[in-house]
Symmetry: C2
Subunit: 195 residues, 2 copies
Amino acid sequence: MPLLDSLTEALRVLPGVGPKSAQRMAYHLLQRDREGAARLAGTLAAALAEVRHCARCNNFTEAEVCERCLSQQRDASQLCVVEMPSDLMVMESTLAYRGLYYVLMGKLSPLDGIGPRELKFDKLVERATDGMVQEVILATNFTNEGEATAHYLGEMLRARGLRVSRIARGVPVGGELEHTDLGTVAQAFVERRGW
Amino acid sequence: MPLLDSLTEALRVLPGVGPKSAQRMAYHLLQRDREGAARLAGTLAAALAEVRHCARCNNFTEAEVCERCLSQQRDASQLCVVEMPSDLMVMESTLAYRGLYYVLMGKLSPLDGIGPRELKFDKLVERATDGMVQEVILATNFTNEGEATAHYLGEMLRARGLRVSRIARGVPVGGELEHTDLGTVAQAFVERRGW
């Protein structure tokens, strides 16, 4: 197969990229921005080699344990569980939370074959039962899948004697943290309730 | 800058990819499809190293001269000028043309700084005046920019004594006047031919 066709096909691993836009991207990279294309190839290879998951919070990092988890400034008695790194960043920018995080890197999604094992719930349990954590705050999205994830995690963590809370439903039903204004997210955090 | 952020930024060289979707793509590549991501990095690097422009038709190829230009089965007296490789493929799939091609790899677009020099019109002139070509068929799109490109090329090639034609514009085959835009119907009327 010609390399141009291989490249078009390889670009289709990107989410939301169909055959037409993959072709347009391949032309663009080879014709209009070879420098950017070379940077993309190099950065992607480097990221694949270097980026891993933090041993404590599961977020992306290039170290064994990420900076946030190592910080002495955070309240180690609170652990906030989010779906994705982008959700963590939304929580951080509200400035309403000073505890630590656990990033699931997804949500329960049986149709896509993503269950408790794929999301490594055991790693979260181990993290939450370190003796320091006193409250686990579930901040998964208020979508069906996010809610199901929160329910499952709530039961699992309460069974281990942990106090569990859920951010308040100030976030619109069916809405996602990433697309919610900061004030609403902050309010939902303040109004979290027993779960 | 963390590699994850570098990757998100590098992905923005792709046309139509903004900050949000670049982030989603970076997560997807690192979290859900590392194999596909490695293939993409490798193929992109290989394509950058190997894919060049055919010395005759300017299309992408991995050889000095592409297979189509070397073929003995094509009519070397006709040269069809298209904007992009995808346009060439559309022409080929009509099975209506047996001549050769020249691929501009773009169109005149002064606002984007793309002029006759960027599109290497001199390479086209050299190709068209090889002594074999008797007719140059302009098959650029019927957009403003495609039309401007055709006008410019037409004047330039006619000045070199070449016969120049333009693919026809009109009501689509199977199309109904009622469902065709007025500009097209008006143009089809103006360009009516003997019957």
